[in-house]
């Protein structure tokens, strides 16, 4: 018995690996105890189950995505600080090499798939149905499934560090390094399985929001009257639809190699590792657009609102979104010009990469022209947008440098590249997500986040960003390669690396200020009593904050692009207030425990595949089948919300 426990502890819990593991164990244990204690003490278990775990309300699902994204931002950020601490000085052994590999792998994977993706889905869910005048997304039940698949995939990925070991071959997970022969153990399986599970959920979200935006718009809202954020979500969802199948195939094939002895990407038996790299980037490059297009949508809303002007060049904004959607699918080879595909192929992809900069440039100028002669208010969302414009311009410039195929042989996989893509993804996506969070926060929770603390966070994060990443461009030119564990002193990289590490810590401090800001504002933040705290332009601001769960008591009839702004200008806002006689009962989708249970089943199936415990995997997949069949045989999944109840709710918010 004792022997068995010790064996389990050594093999799966890795108790011999030292203080980093013990520290993580203790932290996880304390967090779990804290959550369980708080829920029990406050008697919130039932509330948690009824209001959140079984909900199909897009607004609540959006909030859950947001909470997860911020937690994962923290986890990825801690990884980043560990990496930067390790690299702060030459010949450093703060981490051992194996842990260093695991940490840069989880940093990249978490930041892209478990931070950026849920963050954009949070904004999808919170804003889109309200912007287009809908009562929910097209498929609320599927929406809940997507969330829980993401949640449990992220959970599976995160426990890897203390349960069997994390993946350690980089977030791109290239074979043949990731084949069984070179990388034994469950780490890579964790990567493949958890990304597959969240990938299925992501496809569901893509389908859901295309159907929502194309089919659920309020009467009168033609496509050319759809707010630009919703257009951006449509563009992003289309890219999800075209790109994610390729990722799922790449992951599944590599998993077959590792679990069932197939030879897709091995060197032996005729496999071809470059096929993985192509499939991976057929998804991987469009993935950049999946996240950044949504950020572009946020900037369009923010710039128009805080310049008190209609967006400049609406139609060219839509056209450039669609152009990026198409061209973005045709640039993937620029991630591996060094494959040696030949001058013709490399030229095509170099040109397409530069071409995608053109519609992006159009958008940049349209934002600037919207601000031109506008009455600009420097609120937090606007500050992050302005910071984005500077940061993304530099990212674009260095991107064009990397796009020149011959020059790329010099930059490839150097710190120049690392600095470039952090500039694009932090400056483009993270700034946009934070702008969106600040912008819609009052709509979600009914209060504003404190501006003063937010400005501290903004300046610390921004200054920290440049201190961290500008030296890395130089380090790249000096020959420092990405994913290096440590470096000798005589190469002269020490000073710049040390500066970069200081920058990373300043960014970490900035994040802490955001945490403080949220906590402070829960108690002292300015309450939103009008529902239109920013004096904004689109339909969601015509509703009270937070929005009642049925969204619109009466569906509005849309006649203008910036409907709410037009009505305010003409003094006709009363038209969007429901008249008591117009209110009819509404069919609302029922809550369901099944999406949550499906997530649990997928989690155990995933665990089964990671450790090749096939009995567990088979049982869990059986659970999946039972959940799906139970759904199929469900006759009624809606209930009526009576007109009286809606009238009461509307009267409470003073709208009736």
């Amino acid at each position: 018995m004792w022997e068995a426990i010790r064996h389990f502890g050594d093999t799966y819990l890795m108790w011999r690996e030292g203080p980093l593991i013990w520290g993580s164990d203790v932290l996880i244990l304390l967090t779990i105890i804290g959550i369980v204690f708080a829920l029990t003490y406050l008697k919130k278990w039932k509330w948690l189950w009824r209001e959140w775990l079984t909900t199909v309300d897009h607004k609540k699902i959006g909030i859950m995505y947001l909470v997860c994204a911020l937690l994962m931002f923290f986890r990825g950020g801690v990884d980043a600080l560990l990496i930067r601490t390790q690299l702060a000085e030459p010949n450093n052994h703060f981490l051992d090499a194996e842990h260093y590999d695991q940490i840069f792998t989880t940093h990249g994977t978490i930041m892209i798939l478990f931070m950026a993706m849920p963050f954009i889905f949070a904004l999808f869910n919170i804003a889109v149905p309200l912007q287009i005048g809908a009562r929910d997304v097209a498929f609320p039940y599927l929406n809940a499934i997507s969330f829980w698949l993401f949640f449990f995939a992220a959970f599976l990925f995160n426990i890897s560090f203390v349960f069997g070991g994390s993946p350690d071959a980089g977030w791109t997970s290239y074979p043949p390094l990731t084949e069984l022969g070179f990388d034994k153990g469950p780490g890579e399986n964790y990567y493949l399985v958890s990304l597959l599970i969240s990938g299925i959920g992501t496809l569901g979200t893509g389908i859901n929001f295309i159907a929502t935006i194309l089919k659920m718009r309020a009467p009168g809202m033609t496509m050319m009257k759809v707010p630009l954020f919703s257009w951006a979500v449509l563009a992003s969802s289309i890219v999800i639809l075209t790109a994610f199948p390729a990722l799922n195939v790449a992951l599944a094939l590599l998993l077959f190699d590792r679990l069932f002895g197939a030879h897709f990407f091995t060197i032996a038996q005729g496999g071809n590792p470059m096929m993985f790299i192509n499939l991976f980037w057929v998804w991987g490059h469009p993935e950049v657009y999946i996240v950044v297009l949504v950020a572009f949508g946020v900037y369009s809303e923010v710039v128009a609102t805080f310049s008190r002007k209609e967006i400049f060049g609406y139609k060219s904004m839509v056209a450039s979104l669609m152009a990026i959607t198409v061209i973005g699918d045709l640039t993937w080879v620029h991630h591996f010009f060094t494959m040696g595909a030949g001058p013709d192929v490399n030229s095509f992809f170099a040109v397409s990469t530069m071409a995608v900069g053109i519609p992006t440039g159009v958008k940049m100028f349209n934002w600037l022209f919207t601000m031109y002669r506008g009455r600009i208010r420097l609120t937090l969302p606007m500050l992050w947008t302005l910071a984005f414009i500077v940061c993304f311009a530099i990212a674009g410039a260095t991107g064009v440098m990397l796009a020149a195929a011959p020059a790329d042989y010099q930059y490839h996989n150097s710190y120049f590249l690392v600095a470039h893509f952090h500039q694009a993804l932090i400056g483009g996506v993270v700034f946009g997500m934070l702008a969106g969070m600040y912008y819609w926060w009052p709509k979600m929770f009914g209060f504003q986040l404190d501006e003063r603390i937010g400005r501290w966070a903004f300046w610390l994060f921004n200054i920290g960003f440049y201190v961290c990443f500008m030296p890395q461009y130089a380090l790249g030119f000096m020959g420092m390669q990405r994913r290096m564990y440590t470096y000798p002193a005589d190469l002269g990289w020490g000073t710049l690396n040390f500066i970069s590490t200081i920058g990373a810590y300043i960014m970490g401090l900035g994040f802490l200020f955001i945490v403080v800001q949220v906590l402070y504002s829960i108690k002292y933040g300015k309450r939103d009593v009008t529902g239109d705290i920013w004096d904004a332009r689109t339909l969601e601001w015509s509703l009270p904050s937070p929005v009642p769960h049925y969204n619109f008591a009466v569906i509005p009839h849309v006649t203008d692009r910036d409907m709410w702004a037009t009505l305010k200008e003409q003094g006709r806002t009363g038209e969007l207030r429901p008249a008591a006689s117009d209110i009819r009962p509404i069919h609302m989708p029922n809550n369901s425990a099944r999406p949550f249970l499906l997530g649990v089943c997928f989690f155990f199936a995933g665990l089964g595949f990671v450790f090749e415990w096939y009995v567990l995997a088979a049982l869990a997949l059986l659970g999946v089948a039972v959940c799906l069949l139970a759904r199929s045989f469900e006759l009624h999944d809606e209930h009526d919300l009576s007109a009286d109840e809606i009238r009461r709710t509307e009267a409470l918010s003073g709208r009736l």
Binding site: P245, D257, G261, L279, L635
Partner: protein
């Protein structure tokens, strides 16, 4: 006023009478969603086809397509699956005329044909494994088993799904909800048939000719 009534009625849709599966906005929305799913599934197969085309000559000294493929076997599979697509089509047609018994009969025949197809495919795979042609023999065989096997898994899932809908049609008759389900599973079945036509051409026919 359901959350689904928001779909704007289009002029041409009002003009012509809708068939039952499209008669309710919430159900027609689900058909639209299912088309989007089929698009993702098509791309999934596209990636598997690309992988197969890249690797189909990488036999690593193991069996080649020509020595492995059994012409009568894959021809029988093809005829059975194409016929099942036809019977599935009749089920959809009968559904639109609200004849629930007839729908059940045609779905049942389609399921039987699907089972026959799967039976033959399993037999083919078992035979291959017996002569030493497994997934780990060569890159060609990894790609072959994965592509054809993924299609087979889709058909198997389709059979289970169709059986569930068959029971629902018998229990509840043809309602807008069950009609939509019959329609969607029909779309799925035809889609798998189209994929098989490509497998027949790209894998089996090309394998025998090259």
């Amino acid at each position: 006023m359901s959350i689904m009534t928001l779909e704007r009625p289009r002029a041409h849709e009002d003009a012509e009478a809708k068939t039952i599966e499209y008669s309710q906005p919430s159900e027609s929305l689900k058909i639209f969603g299912f088309w989007l799913f089929l698009a993702t599934d098509m791309l999934l197969f596209a990636c598997l086809f690309a992988t197969y085309v890249l690797l189909h000559t990488h036999t690593a000294g193991g069996p080649t397509a020509r020595t492995l493929f059994d012409v009568p076997g894959f021809e029988a599979e093809t005829f059975i699956l194409l016929t099942s697509s036809f019977t599935g089509g009749i089920a959809t047609y009968e559904m639109q005329h609200q004849r629930s018994k007839s729908v059940a009969v045609w779905l049942f025949i389609t399921i039987l044909l699907g089972l026959a197809f799967i039976g033959l495919e399993v037999q083919e795979f078992i035979h291959d494994v017996h002569i030493g042609a497994t997934m780990s023999t060569s890159a060609f065989l990894s790609a072959f088993f994965t592509l054809v096997g993924t299609h087979g898994c889709h058909v198997s899932l389709g059979i289970v799904w169709m059986a569930a809908i068959l029971i629902q049609v018998l229990r509840w008759g043809i309602t807008p909800q069950t009609a939509r389900k019959v329609f969607n599973v029909g779309l799925y079945w035809h889609f798998l048939d189209v994929v098989w036509v490509f497998i027949f051409t790209v894998v089996y026919l090309t394998g025998m000719v090259m």
